[in-house]
């Protein structure tokens, strides 16, 4: 005796958020039923395991049928097969495109290729996230990447329009696409302490200030690539470390401003030249794609680590960077104020975000 066929179809498609999450997390039907039972739903609703199994199967089938549509969220709104209220649609999309921080941290900056996909079982083993879920998240990254790669206009807006994602999620995806496109190195041991949100913040800064779209909204170019002209101009900043006078002048201006305002003044004074050289060198090298990839590791190795070993506080770092940036404008021989501001603005916010005491 067995139930051979069992379906339940509502005019308004019934979807349980909890089951949806289990499905997204890659649980099999039987595992999902177990989780639900453990969640105490049986006592709550006087349901039996049989009922739960039937319900879970129904929902899983619905989700599988919907998945095709979720790949093109715009279709979900004008398809006829499922009648889903708009708020539910938004929920479905948002959750489908949501990702685990632990997972994204593993693939951030990696090429979204078949090779990477093959390694997902390692990622799954490492993060404890089910392979099925890893694959969905990876495919989402790749799908978004493919669509927006070719599009003109602002990256975040493009993602939001095409995938109907809420603002924050669209920004996160922009960061992921941006990282994948520029292949920033994020996996090194020294970078492990940084969370995805740290990187996402930095990506936002880079997108907003260093890409072509950042300067000129009219430009028909894309947000995904850094502004080549700007990177070229960054070379001009080298004068700040190659010109001895300029370097000394800069140092004395900064030190005068900082004196008495911090406990680590001596360390600041001692390290000034080193730090300044590091920051300017990073800027000058960005024209090489290879060095762009190392941008974050460079920031950590050349600036953040020295400061940390000298026990600077975030306030110290902030103070230092403010005066370091502003003092340059007093130097009469320095001409590249626009580039300097554009560079240092981003660097300052990135460093502050990445500076975990």
């Amino acid at each position: 005796m067995s139930v051979e066929l069992d379906v339940f179809v509502g005019n308004t498609t019934i979807m349980d958020k909890e089951v949806y999450q289990l499905w997204l997390n890659g649980y099999t039907v039987n595992d999902a039923v177990k989780v639900r039972i453990e969640g105490g739903i049986m006592e709550e609703c006087e349901a039996s395991a049989e009922v739960l199994l039937s319900d879970t199967m129904d929902q899983y089938r619905t989700f599988q049928m919907c998945e095709r549509l979720l790949h093109h969220p715009a279709k979900l709104a004008n398809q006829l097969l499922f009648q889903i209220p708009p708020d539910r649609q938004a929920m479905l999309i948002e959750r489908y495109y949501a990702f685990d921080d632990a997972f994204v941290r593993e693939v951030l900056g990696k090429k979204l290729s078949k090779g990477t996909k093959k390694d997902l079982d390692d990622v799954s083993a490492k993060t404890g996230i089910m392979l099925k879920s890893c694959r969905r998240q990876f495919d989402n990254f790749k799908r978004v990447f493919k669509v927006v790669e070719e599009l003109k206009g602002p990256l975040v807006e493009n993602i939001r329009q095409h995938f109907l994602l809420p603002d924050q999620l669209a920004r996160d995806y922009a960061a992921i696409v941006f990282f994948a496109n520029n292949r920033f190195e994020t996996g090194k041991k020294k970078l492990q302490y940084l969370t995805f949100h740290d990187f996402a913040f930095c990506a936002g800064q880079l997108i907003n200030h260093w890409t072509v779209g950042a300067v000129d909204n009219m430009m028909d170019d894309m947000d995904v690539d850094l502004d080549k002209e700007f990177l070229q101009d960054l070379k001009d900043l080298k004068i700040l470390i190659t010109d001895k006078d300029l370097l000394d002048q800069h140092k004395s201006l900064v030190c005068t401003a900082l004196r008495g305002k911090t406990n680590v003044f001596n360390e600041m004074e001692a390290n000034f030249k080193n730090l300044s050289r590091s920051l300017v060198n990073i800027a000058a090298k960005l024209i090489n794609a290879k060095d762009v990839r190392d941008f974050f590791i460079d920031l950590v190795e050349k600036f953040i680590e020295p400061c940390r070993s000298d026990k600077w506080t975030s306030i110290d770092v902030n103070l230092y960077l403010i005066h370091y940036t502003n003092s340059v404008h007093i130097l009469d021989t320095f001409k590249h104020h626009g580039v300097w501001n554009r560079y240092m603005g981003v660097i300052k916010s990135c460093i502050l975000r990445m500076y975990h005491e």
């Binding site: 005796m1 051979e4 009922v51 709104a77 009648q83 708009p86 939001r160």
Partner: protein, 1075 residues
């Protein structure tokens, strides 16, 4: 040549990739009507083609317009090979032929393929220019409106109800033609789909002609069914109720509602008086005053005491079976003659079939309800030789209808309402069933004089020659009588319709508990919805009797005889089960009773569903008493007493759940307490039979109101167990199979329609009847449990119109399909209470004497038909304590509803605050005029770049809570076949059917939206035939659905736009009428 059909193909979207090389499609469209075909240009290399074609014009006969669907085929152009079909769309032109329905079909319709399902959508525009043909001999019946709804549609008024119309057409089933061996499954499916489209068009046209002949302009309660007889052909048959309907001038603003409603109610009242007055003496004979007096002298306990109710619930079977303690039609014809004579005044008498497919009625239509009548007959299918003259099938139904008519007469009734017909086919055996409720109708809506339906009379009923036996059952309950203007309508329909000295079957009569003047039966079974004016106590609930009977495999006549012999037992047991379960819930009446008997090769399935209620007018049912036949040893006694305790507990619990607490109520009225335990007494079932058993009984209690189950064998023990295994509905849930749950008001607008199908395989071939029963019962219970679980987020809610359909698709398989709607309601009564007091004071202020009350009731009742919610809503308000208050609760509250719209307004506002989110979304659904709503929807439009799909609500009910139907756009009647040869890949049988049902919903919604509608009411899935062959990885499914496409507007919106004028007009109109 009186019609021009115009079609324009605008665009396509989401088309499938047909060319693997380019991942694109070169699509073009063929538009076909009759034998004319037009083509669009090929739109190359696109999945979203923009054809923007010219208008294709078909000049056709209006007969063809009714019969034929417009057929749109989307194809992929291929230079080298034959063009590949992507899919088809069939468009029923019928809604465009009626001036009051839709004017244009425009929108995105799913492109459907029987193998692949929905493959993209196509945007079309269809219009019809109709030149009126007044030719008397015309073959078309354009303009006749069809409604699936089994009540007078909400924005219409019935000027006249003409009566029963029926028709059937037969054809060969393309699936069984020789050509099917050489054509593809797709071609075969499409031939079948097209044929059925044509046949239902033809059927509708023919029915329409009959309606015109009768002088009507509409068919209400249109019920169309398919009999897939297999080798012998395909029968499409339909029944309905012909009416003359008049549109109530609608009302985009509510301000016009009330005046326009109150006037029809006025002129409706007059004829009732006029025609009924002479009839009154007939019903309210001399005994009446006497009875009232005796009643008042009765002690309360006596008014309670009555005979075992089992007697009147016995099935009356054909006399030769000898089981009937009740009278069958034939047996009791004699004594009834006197009664018949009394009623000859009725025009109905002269009608061939005084049947009505309606289940709820305008006030004044239904005077007295007799009981359920039903008839079944087992036939052997033979080849239909001449499809144009389907005489045998016609004759079969004729026989059955005659029988139903006789049964109704036996119950002293002249009409049958809530009438329906069904079949169950297995191989060459076919069970035909018909059932309805015998009633006496008010003559207000009846046409005077005989009605000519001579086309039928001229036909000679042919006696079926293969000798299959006929079996009939007649479920008599009891009756009511005596329509009187003074009798409160809340109980009038319960009064027995026949002379109490000539009861057609032994029934226990008591004086009505409401008016105390007329006799009422102890139990009432009906197939109709609970009349809105009925007085009930507590809430109702779904009651199901389920039964399985094994049967030996047999062939031909032998098989038919075996089935015939089994049927009476099946019906009898179903009936006993229903009665037991009814008592177990402490209730005394069943509404919406539907008995389905399904035949398979090795078993018969019986499923009876109904909604139990406690009618205030009827006596309280006694408990259930278990009697051990051989009281020998102590453990056995103990066992029995345990069981008795269980049963008593269950009854007590049920009474609490359903808020059935009549004893209290009786006490208050009569003023002396009834000791609860003394109500129960020991008695055998069918006490009326003078068998030896009776004498063995201990009758020491002296009262005979308990229903006794005798445990003398294991069967009975099983039965009692089965009785107790019904899973109680979880808290917050109610269920019923009628339109709306009796006793629940204040519905919110949240509804969820669903269809669920389960197929159960019995692997164990050697099951006993008991084992089968258990399995079947569990199957149904588990389904219900699943619903409760799935819909838990809607609590408090009620599953309404739970419609179970059982089938035995093949040996060892049981299929149960359910369609229902879950509707949530507001539990909070605080506001309601506030309203109640407001209502009462208002009423007191306005009306003081009875006559005025009565008058206002008429108004309200009329009001309640276009807008039933306001009146039902009110009912809960006065769920109070006094008889008088109860009896008039409808009047009070709904009257108040009209005149105190400000209170309603207040409530609505509070409502909005309470469930703010729900309200906003619902207003967004229809681009609310509120600025807030607009800004929101604008934002949404922006964020969801594409235009989103309009929401289409679906419900099996004839109404939408919290909304007003302002227009009926036409009938939706669709038939689909889906087949797959890759069952596993599509997710197995469940995946396949899940997709298909979702697709059917989608197509229904799309067609409704294209007609300009935003909801389907009276939706039903009439057929769901599923066949599988897992070994071949194949499955096929046929689904037939129907309903009425409508436009509704939210009441809240209506009122929001016209609060001021509305309250102003109602005030004045009340003032005018009340004084």
């Amino acid at each position: 040549m009186p019609g021009k059909l115009k079609a324009k193909i605008v665009a396509g979207r989401h088309l499938p990739v047909m060319d693997r090389a380019s991942d694109l499609t070169d699509a073009f469209v063929e538009v076909k009507f009759g034998n004319t075909t037009f083509k669009t240009d090929v739109y190359p290399k696109s999945l979203n083609p923009q054809w923007n074609s010219e208008w294709f014009k078909f000049e056709v006969d209006d007969k063809d317009l009714q019969d034929e669907p417009l057929q749109i085929t989307v194809l992929d152009h291929d230079i080298y090979s034959a063009n590949d079909a992507i899919g088809k769309v069939y468009i029923d032109i019928d809604p465009l032929l009626c001036s009051e329905a839709a004017t244009v079909i425009s929108g995105w319709l799913p492109i459907y393929d029987t193998i692949h399902g929905i493959r993209g959508e196509i945007n079309v525009l269809v219009k019809v220019d109709l030149f009126n043909d007044l030719n008397r001999f015309r073959q078309s019946s354009c303009g006749v409106k069809f409604f699936c709804t089994t009540s007078i549609p909400r924005c219409y008024r019935a000027v006249m109800v003409h009566g029963f119309v029926e028709e059937l057409v037969v054809n060969e089933d393309p699936e069984y033609q020789w050509i099917d061996r050489i054509r593809t499954p797709r071609a075969s499916n499409e031939a079948r789909q097209r044929l059925i489209f044509l046949m239902s068009g033809e059927l509708q046209r023919k029915i329409g002609l009959k309606v015109l002949e009768m002088g009507g302009n509409a068919v209400v309660g249109y019920l169309q069914c398919f009999d897939l007889e297999g080798e012998t052909g395909l029968v499409v048959r339909a029944i309905g109720t012909a009416c003359t309907l008049e549109k109530i001038s609608t009302l985009t603003s509510a301000s016009t509602t009330h005046p326009s409603n109150s006037s029809p109610s006025k002129d409706m009242k007059e004829p009732i008086f006029g025609e009924e007055a002479p009839g009154n003496p007939l019903f309210s004979g001399p005994p009446t005053p006497l009875r009232v007096q005796t009643f008042s002298s009765f002690s309360p306990s006596k008014s309670y005491s009555r005979q075992s109710s089992s007697s009147d619930t016995e099935l009356s079977l054909t006399p030769k079976t000898g089981m009937g303690s009740g009278g069958s039609a034939g047996k009791d014809a004699g004594p009834l003659k006197a009664l018949m004579r009394q009623q000859t005044q009725s025009a109905l008498e002269q009608r061939e079939y005084p049947f009505f497919t309606l289940t709820s009625f305008p006030p004044g239509f239904l005077l007295h309800v007799g009981g359920v009548v039903n008839a079944r007959s087992v036939k052997l299918l033979d080849r239909i030789h001449n499809p144009d003259e389907p005489e045998t099938r016609d004759a079969w139904w004729e026989e059955i209808r005659q029988e139903i008519k006789c049964h109704a007469k036996a119950l002293g009734c002249h009409a049958v309402v809530g009438y329906s017909e069904s079949t169950s086919i297995c191989e060459e055996v076919c069970i035909l069933s018909a059932s309805g409720t015998a009633v006496i109708l008010g003559s207000r809506f009846m046409q005077d004089g005989p009605l000519d339906t001579d086309h039928r009379l001229s036909r000679q009923p042919l006696v079926f020659s293969t000798g299959a036996e006929r079996v009939e059952g007649d479920m008599g309950s009891s009756i009511s009588l005596g329509f009187e203007e003074v009798a409160p309508p809340g109980c009038g329909f319960c009064h027995i319709p026949y002379d109490e000295l000539n009861i057609p079957f032994p029934a226990q009569l008591t004086n009505c508990y409401c008016c105390r003047r007329y006799k009422v039966p102890d139990v009432l079974f009906t197939t109709i919805d609970l009349p809105t004016e009925a007085n009930i106590t507590g809430k109702g609930c779904l009651i199901q009797a389920r039964l399985c009977r094994t049967k030996k495999k047999a062939q031909g006549e032998g098989n038919a005889t075996a089935i015939s012999n089994l049927l009476p037992f099946l019906e009898y047991e179903l009936h006993t089960q229903l009665m037991n379960k009814l008592k177990l819930r402490g209730m005394n009446a069943l509404f919406g009773l539907r008995i389905q008997i399904s035949v398979g090769e090795t078993m018969l399935l019986g499923l009876a569903s109904a909604t139990g209620v406690y009618l205030t007018a009827l006596p309280s049912p006694g408990g259930i008493q278990i009697a051990g036949k051989t009281p020998s040893d102590i453990t056995y006694e103990q066992h029995i007493s345990n069981m008795q305790k269980k049963i008593n507990d269950t009854i007590a619990k049920n009474k609490e759940i359903y808020e059935v607490n009549p004893p209290e109520f009786v006490e208050e009225v009569i003023g002396s307490p009834i000791p609860e335990p003394r109500q129960r007494s020991r008695l055998f079932r069918s006490q009326s039979e003078s068998s030896d058993d009776v004498s063995e009984l201990d009758l020491s209690y002296g009262k005979k109101d308990a229903f006794v189950l005798e445990i003398d064998d294991t069967d009975a023990v099983e039965d009692i167990h089965a009785l107790l295994t019904d899973f109680p509905t979880p808290p917050g849930f109610y269920s019923c199979n009628t339109e709306i749950m009796p006793g629940i008001q204040n519905w919110t607008s949240a509804i969820q329609m669903f269809t669920s199908v389960r197929v159960f395989r019995l692997n164990n071939a050697n099951l006993t009847n008991q084992g089968l029963n258990k399995i079947f019962s569990e199957l149904c219970e588990n389904l219900l449990k699943s619903f409760y679980f799935k819909l838990r987020s809607m609590v408090p809610c009620c599953l309404c119109h739970l419609n179970f359909t059982v089938a035995i698709p093949e040996d060892e398989l049981i299929q149960v399909a359910v369609t229902a709607v879950a509707m949530s309601f507001d539990k909070e009564q605080t506001l309601e209470n506030g309203r109640q007091s407001g209502d009462k004071t208002l009423i007191k202020a306005i009306t003081e004497n009875d006559e005025q009350l009565q008058f206002s009731l008429e108004l309200n009742a009329e009001l309640s038909s276009p807008n039933p919610l306001s009146s039902t809503k009110g009912l809960s308000d006065v769920s109070g304590s006094h008889l008088s208050a109860r009896a008039h609760s409808v009047d009070y509250s709904s009257f108040a509803d009209r005149c105190s719209s400000w209170i309603e307004q207040l409530r609505l506002k509070a409502h909005i605050i309470r469930r703010g989110s729900v309200k906003t979304t619902s207003s967004l659904e229809k681009a609310s005029p509120l600025p807030e709503g607009r800004s929101r929807s604008l934002r949404r439009n922006r964020s969801y770049s594409g235009s989103s799909v309009a929401v289409v609500k679906m419900t099996p009910l004839s109404l939408l809570p919290g909304a007003k139907i302002i227009k009926y756009l036409g009938i939706i009647n669709m038939f689909f076949i889906r087949e797959t040869t890759s069952l596993r890949e599509e997710g197995g049988v469940s995946g396949f059917l899940h997709t298909f049902i979702a697709e059917v919903f989608a197509m229904v919604r799309a067609h409704v939206a294209a007609l300009g509608g935003n909801a389907v009411v009276s939706y039903s899935m009439k057929e769901c035939v599923f066949m599988e062959n897992p070994n071949k990885n194949q499955a096929q499914c046929l689904i037939n659905v129907s309903g009425d496409a409508v436009i509704f507007v939210r009441e809240s919106e209506l009122e929001a736009t016209s609060v001021q004028p509305q309250s102003a007009t109602t005030q004045t109109s009340n003032g005018g009428e009340g004084t």
